[in-house]
C-alpha cells in the first residue's frame, strides 16, 4: 500500500530542492514525485507517492511546515482520479508485430513510434493497469521504459482531506471543499 499526497507550492527557484531535502532528512521514501503547473499562475502542483512505511500525517505536517508549501491534501482514502503515463519501447520482429499491436489495442494505448525492430507504446492509466500491460509485454523484450509517476485529482467539487494545522476535525476543515486560497 501507499499514500498519495497532493501539494500546492509556490513556483519559486529551489522549492523542489526544499521538498527533496525534507524527504531525505526525515527519511521519507518517495515512490514517485510529479511536478507541473496548476490552474493558478505562480503555483505548481505536486503529486507525491510515499510507501506506507512512512507515516502520512508526518509527511503532510512536514510538507506544510515548509514556507513555500501552500496547501497539502492527502487523497489516499478519498474518491480521487489517479493516473500515470508510461512510454514503453518493445523489441518487435515481423512475426510479433500484430500480436503486440492487438495487445496495445486491448489496453487502449497509442502506438507513438514504429521502427524496423521496435515499437513505442504510450499508455495512460492506473499504476495497476500499466503494471499489467508491462507484464504482458515483457516476453517480447522491453528495450526502454519511462513512467511519469502518479498524478491525482479529487472527483467532483471535492478536495482531499486538507491539512490544516490546529484545525483538524473542526467544522471549518470539514466544510473546506474548494481549493480556494489567495
Amino acid at each position: 500500500m501507499q499514500n498519495t499526497i497532493v501539494a500546492l507550492v509556490e513556483d519559486k527557484p529551489g522549492v523542489l530542492n526544499r521538498i527533496a531535502s525534507l524527504f531525505r532528512r526525515r527519511n521519507f521514501n518517495i515512490k514517485s514525485l510529479n511536478v507541473g503547473n496548476s490552474e493558478k499562475p505562480g503555483i505548481s502542483r505536486m503529486t507525491i507517492v510515499v510507501d506506507d512505511s512512512v507515516n502520512a500525517s508526518q509527511v503532510e505536517a512536514n510538507l506544510y511546515k515548509l514556507v513555500n508549501v501552500i496547501d497539502v491534501q492527502d487523497v489516499t482514502d478519498e474518491p480521487a482520479v489517479i493516473r500515470e503515463l508510461a512510454l514503453i519501447k518493445v523489441s518487435v520482429t515481423p512475426e510479433k508485430r500484430n500480436e503486440i499491436s492487438s495487445l496495445a489495442d486491448i489496453f487502449r494505448t497509442n502506438v507513438v513510434d514504429v521502427a524496423q525492430d521496435s515499437m513505442t507504446i504510450e499508455i495512460v492509466g492506473t499504476e495497476k493497469k500499466i503494471a499489467g500491460f508491462v507484464e504482458l509485454l515483457r516476453p517480447f523484450g522491453i528495450l526502454e521504459m519511462v513512467r511519469t509517476g502518479n498524478i491525482a485529482m479529487m472527483r467532483g467539487a471535492m478536495a482531499g482531506k486538507r491539512y490544516m494545522p490546529g484545525k483538524n476535525g473542526t467544522e471549518e476543515q470539514k466544510q473546506y471543499s474548494a481549493l480556494s486560497f489567495s
Binding site: 500525517s57 512536514n62 515548509l66 494545522p165 490546529g166 476535525g169 489567495s182
Partner: protein, 563 residues
C-alpha cells in the same frame, strides 16, 4: 529616494528593531558593514563567525528579540553553521545575513563562493538568496516574521554583492504575503474538551514543561493550570524557570540527568500533559518503555512534533499560552492526595541523595561551586553554560526561580556556546547580571571571544569549572568503556595568565572554603571576572539514565553513608 542595497538592508533592520549585530567583515559583505556606520546599529566584531552566531543566539534567548549575525561569503558563512544548528535545535529566533558573490558569477566557483542556501537548507527554518536590490525589503520583512513567529528559528539571507551595491528607489512593503505560512493559535475546542475529560479522570497527572512555555510567555498560565489542578510539574533542560524551583509543585528537571522524582513521576503517571516540548530522546529514555501507564495530551505549535516520537491521545495544535488560557476556565479544582504523597516520598529520597549533603568531605565539587554561586547571586543571575557535566550540574543546582535565566545549548549540545552566548546576552541589557558556568573543554573551544569581551568592555562573570577532563565523555568512558580514558584528559593554558593577558581580574579556587570569597570578589569587581575552580576530576553526574534504559532505571548517587 534612491538607495543602494546595503543601505536598504540597514534601513530594514532598523525598522525591525535591530540595535546590535554580531559579525565579521569580508569582501562579499563589505558594503553592508560600510552602510552600518550610517545607522544606529552597533556592530560587535567577534573573533570567529561561530562566536557571532552564538552571540546572536544568546542575544535572542535573553531578550526574546531576533538576534542578528552577519558574515562574508564562503568560509565566513560556513563558520556560522554551528551557531545556526544550535539555534535551529533550540528554536531560537535569529536572522543571519551572509555576503554572496555577484549574481552573474553564481555557479562559476568564484573566489569565496559557496552554495550557502544549499548548505543551510536543512538547518534553517527558511532561507533566501537575494540577487536583486528590489527583493531586499520584502525578504527582510518576511525573514524576521518567520524567525520570530510560530515555532521560532533561524532564517538565513544570502545577499549577492551586486544587490548590495545597486541603487534603486526604496519602498518599504506595508504587507507581507506568505500564503503557505500560518502558525496555528487556538486549538479546536473539540480537542480542548477531550483534553479536559482526560484531566478530570486523571489520578496521577504530571506536566512536562518545555522551552515552549517561555517562548510563548505562558509561565503564568502554567502556574495557574498546575495550581488549580494540583498537578506536579517537571521541566526539560530548556524549560527550567517555567515554574519557580521553589514552587511546591515543581519536580525539577526530567530526563537523562533529571531528578529521580521527576522521572519516577513520569513513569508512574496516568496522564502526561506535555506543554511546548518535543519528547527528545534525552527526556524519554527508551521509547518502548516510556510512560507506559499514561494517556498523553500534547500542546504544541509545530504540527510536525505531534506523534513524532511519542504517539499521543489528544494533540492540541496551537500556541501554548492561547491554548492554556482557553482550557483553564473549563477546569475544576482537583485533588490527588495519594499521588502527592507518593511524590513527596520520591522528593525526600532525591534530597537525601543530593550531593549537597556531602558538604563536609573537604573536596571541591562543581555542584558546591554552583550552589555557592546561587547564594552569591541570590538565585537571580542569567546563567549561560557550555556543554558537559558542568552544564547538567548548573541545571540541577542553580535552582531557577525565574524564566529566561538559563541559556544553554540543549538540542544540539554545542560545546563552545557559552562564552559568545554570554556576550550576546550581556548586550541585551548591560545591567544584567550575566554569569557563565563553563567547562575547561567547552571554554577553550571559543575562548578567543575573550578578546571581543575586552574590546567591548563586557561584564560577564566567568565561573570556569576545571576538571582537566572532557568530563561528560570521561563519565561515559568510566561507566561504559571500562575506564579507558581515550582523548578526554585535557590541559589548558594557565587560566590566570590568560585572564591577565585580557586585562580580566581572576582568581583560582582549589578548596571549598575559598569558593564564597572568590564569588563575592567576582560579584563586586566591575567588568568581566574569571574564577577558575579546580574541581574534583572524576566526579559523576547523577542520576543517569543509561542508553536503552527506561526513564526510571537510573544510576543514582550513593547515599553518603553507603560510600
Amino acid at each position: 529616494m534612491k538607495m543602494n542595497g546595503a543601505d536598504i538592508m540597514m534601513e530594514c533592520l532598523v525598522r525591525e528593531g535591530v540595535d546590535t549585530i554580531f559579525g565579521y567583515p569580508g569582501g562579499a559583505i563589505m558594503p553592508v558593514h560600510d552602510a552600518m556606520l550610517k545607522y544606529p546599529i552597533h556592530h560587535v566584531l567577534t573573533r570567529h563567525e561561530q562566536g557571532a552566531s552564538h552571540a546572536a543566539d544568546g542575544y535572542a534567548r535573553a531578550s526574546g528579540k531576533v538576534g542578528v549575525a552577519v558574515a562574508t561569503s564562503g568560509p565566513g558563512a560556513t563558520n556560522l553553521v554551528t551557531g545556526i544548528v544550535t539555534a535551529m535545535m533550540d528554536s531560537v529566533p535569529m536572522v543571519c545575513i551572509t555576503g554572496q558573490v555577484p549574481a552573474h558569477l553564481i555557479g562559476g566557483d568564484a573566489f569565496q563562493e559557496t552554495d550557502v542556501t544549499g548548505v543551510t537548507l536543512p538547518i534553517t527554518k527558511h532561507n533566501y538568496l537575494i540577487t536583486r536590490a528590489d527583493e531586499i525589503a520584502q525578504v527582510v520583512r518576511e525573514a524576521f516574521h518567520i524567525a520570530r513567529s510560530g515555532r521560532p528559528g533561524p532564517v538565513l539571507i544570502d545577499f549577492c554583492k551586486n544587490a548590495q551595491l545597486d541603487e534603486i528607489e526604496f519602498e518599504y512593503p506595508e504587507d507581507i504575503s506568505l500564503p503557505g505560512y500560518s502558525p496555528p493559535d487556538h486549538a479546536p475546542m473539540d480537542d480542548v474538551n477531550k483534553a479536559v475529560e482526560l484531566i478530570e479522570a486523571a489520578e496521577r497527572p504530571v506536566i512536562l514543561a518545555g522551552h515552549g512555555v517561555q517562548m510563548s510567555g505562558a509561565m503564568e498560565e502554567l502556574r495557574i493550570f498546575a495550581t488549580k489542578t494540583n498537578t506536579p510539574v517537571s521541566m526539560t533542560l530548556l524549560g527550567l524557570g517555567a515554574l519557580p524551583a521553589s514552587d511546591p509543585l515543581s519536580l525539577g528537571m526530567m530526563g537523562m540527568h533529571g531528578e529521580a522524582c521527576a522521572n519516577e513521576a513520569i513513569q508512574n503517571a496516568d496522564l502526561i500533559l506535555a506543554f511546548g516540548m518535543r519528547f527528545d530522546d534525552r527526556v524519554t529514555g527508551v521509547l518502548s518503555k516510556y510512560a507506559p501507564h499514561a494517556k498523553k495530551i500534547h500542546v504544541e505549535v509545530d504540527p510536525t512534533e505531534i506523534h513524532k516520537n511519542v504517539a499521543v491521545d489528544v494533540p492540541l495544535m496551537g500556541d501554548l499560552k492561547t491554548v492554556l488560557a482557553d482550557m483553564i476556565p473549563l477546569l475544576d479544582e482537583y485533588d490527588h492526595p495519594q499521588w502527592m504523597a507518593q511524590i513527596a516520598e520520591w522528593k525526600a529520597e532525591t534530597e537525601e541523595r543530593s550531593i549537597m549533603s556531602w558538604q563536609d568531605d573537604g573536596k571541591l565539587y562543581s555542584a558546591h561551586a554552583i550552589r555557592a554561586m546561587w547564594t552569591a547571586t541570590e538565585g537571580d543571575a542569567l546563567v549561560v553554560t557550555g556543554v558537559g557535566q558542568h552544564q547538567m550540574w548548573a541545571a540541577q543546582y542553580y535552582e531557577f526561580e525565574k524564566p529566561y535565566r538559563l541559556l544553554t545549548s540543549g538540542g544540539a549540545g554545542t560545546m563552545g556556546y557559552g562564552l559568545p552566548a554570554a556576550l550576546g546576552a550581556w548586550f541585551t541589557d548591560k545591567e544584567k547580571d550575566v554569569w557563565l558556568i563553563d567547562g575547561d573543554g567547552s571554554f577553550q573551544m571559543t575562548q578567543a571571544e575573550l578578546s571581543t569581551m575586552m574590546q567591548e568592555g563586557a561584564n560577564v562573570k566567568i565561573v570556569l569549572l576545571n576538571n582537566s577532563y572532557l568530563g561528560m565523555v570521561r563519565q561515559w568512558q568510566e561507566l561504559f568503556f571500562d575506564e579507558r580514558y581515550a582523548a578526554t584528559p585535557i590541559t589548558g593554558p594557565d587560566f590566570m595568565k590568560l585572564a591577565e593577558a585580557h586585562g580580566i581580574p581572576a582568581k583560582r579556587v582549589t578548596k571549598p572554603e575559598d569558593a564564597m570569597d572568590a564569588l563575592e570578589f567576582a560579584k563586586n569587581t566591575p567588568g568581566t571576572v574569571l574564577i577558575e575552580f579546580q574541581v574534583e576530576k572524576e566526579e559523576l553526574v547523577y542520576p543517569m539514565v543509561p542508553a536503552g534504559a527506561a526513564l526510571n532505571e537510573m544510576l543514582r548517587r550513593p547515599i553518603k553513608s553507603e560510600k
